[in-house]
């Protein structure tokens, strides 16, 4: 009973603020949440750097090539961090929510949810970094197989990016085109659904790491045996597609919460 009163008091206190102030405050929180995604590229690129150093030690002659592949993969791993930075910068400097018409609470929560959604980008950062490290290693072991293994690394990394892209799509939808802002219904349910949609996308961490691991192992295998490149690619892609499924579940739940919300009518 005490708890219910506390929530009511909290919400009443929130709604006592000016609508614009509430949305701007929530944008600040959302921008902060978004930058948590930086954990991923940090770990991934560090792994790639370590593997690059190891590759240089193992085979000095192919060192330049290994370094280039390491930098290429690390650049790809940076993507999630950049996307998170862009969302944060949008929330801070080009805020689209401040002038939106609709329920103030839902608009404010959209900002926070958009930031939380980008946390899912942590996964691809780690996974693609692993693939980059494996790419550098593959070059050091077999410099002749560097072309095919780079191709496999790029292919696998691009598939691993998918979860980050799903997070970006949900974040952009929440910021620019959240249907719940103008839906009729209890504001608390709409706001909670918005927050739920954002939190669901944190699931992107898993497939990002897993698919990146598959990409790294595919790169390593192609480096060792370039002649089996096509069968390696097929198995890698098949496995990555299976790994994607829970990310798809999360995307579907987020989209259902936003576009086909079953909870509003139940009240």
């Amino acid at each position: 009973m005490e708890n219910a009163n506390f929530i009511e008091t909290f919400l009443t206190w929130l709604m006592s603020f000016d609508k614009k102030a509430l949305i701007l405050a929530a944008s600040a929180i959302g921008a902060g949440f978004s930058m948590i995604a930086g954990i991923g590229p940090g770990i991934g690129q560090g792994y790639a750097a370590g593997k690059g150093a190891e590759a240089m030690g193992v085979n000095q002659k192919s060192g330049k090539q290994a370094t280039m592949i390491m930098l290429l993969g690390a650049g790809i791993a940076e993507t999630s961090g950049i996307l998170a930075l862009v969302i944060a910068l949008i929330l801070l400097f080009g805020n689209p929510l401040v002038n939106q018409e609709g329920n103030a609470l839902v608009i404010a929560v959209s900002a926070i949810a958009a930031g939380i959604s980008m946390i899912g980008g942590m996964g691809p950062g780690i996974g693609q970094g692993y693939a980059a490290g494996k790419g550098a290693e593959a070059v050091s072991i077999n410099p002749d197989g560097s072309r095919p293994s780079t191709l496999v690394m790029l292919l696998g990394s691009a598939v691993a990016q998918t979860s980050g892209i799903f997070s970006l799509v949900i974040a952009l939808l929440l910021m620019y085109a959240n249907p719940l802002v103008t839906t009729k219904g209890a504001a608390i349910i709409l706001a909670a659904s918005t927050l739920g949609a954002g939190i669901a996308m944190i699931a992107g961490i898993g497939p990002g790491v897993g698919q990146g691991y598959a990409a790294g192992k595919g790169t390593e295998a192609t480096g060792k045996r370039p002649q089996y490149q096509s069968s390696i690619i097929r198995t890698m892609i098949l496995g990555q597609a299976v790994a994607q499924t829970t990310g798809i579940y999360a995307l579907v739940i987020a989209l259902v919460l936003m576009f086909a919300n079953p909870l509003i009518g139940l009240l």
Partner: protein
Amino acid sequence: MDSGFGPKIIFELPGGILITETVTTTWIIMGVLILFAFIATRKFEKLPKGLQNVVELIVDLIYGLTGQTMGEDKKKTFAPYMGTLMIFLIFANLAGLFGFRPPTADVNTTVALALITFFMIHFFGMKRKGVGKYLKGFLEPLFVMLPINVIGELATPISLSFRLFGNMVGGLIIMNLLYGALGSLSAKLGIGIPIFMAAIPAPLHIYFDVFAGVLQSFIFTMLTMVFVSLAMD
């Protein structure tokens, strides 16, 4: 999508069908590709030279890639569609460089292409293995896996379409915001000409439009090839 970043509506057909810039840009791409195909294949010489060399190179590459990924026996059937798909996607994704809004930045286009892949997968799987045996495959390895297998199959077109859509629309929005920010920076400094827009966006265009565009079209086509050949084996 919000009116801010969605495709502009060009005109409306009777019956309420809206023709957006997605459709018109797709028409333009179709026109360019058909014209190119017509001009390039007009006179075939026994010893190729000039444009015919380039065209033969492209066809060889596509047939080679299809044979490598799907198996030599499937090359003849699928290479034409896979080549068309890849070339269309490359043109569509690079349309941003020419001032058009990429048609693949519209979820309708990507879902349509993903649905073609989806129907290809199941049609050719059933054709190769027989309807009964193909459907029984969903009960592998254990019959309780049926719902999980079905959802996994449904995940294919969803991930294909949203991966391409998300990459394209994300790049589009980021470039738009960058131009807006550079424009307002010039305005704040009181400079009339938007000089910041001259050189700074160029490397970002190379990343978002060229690199991401070509890579995503390659990925879409490769995944289509892999999924169809896996369904047939």
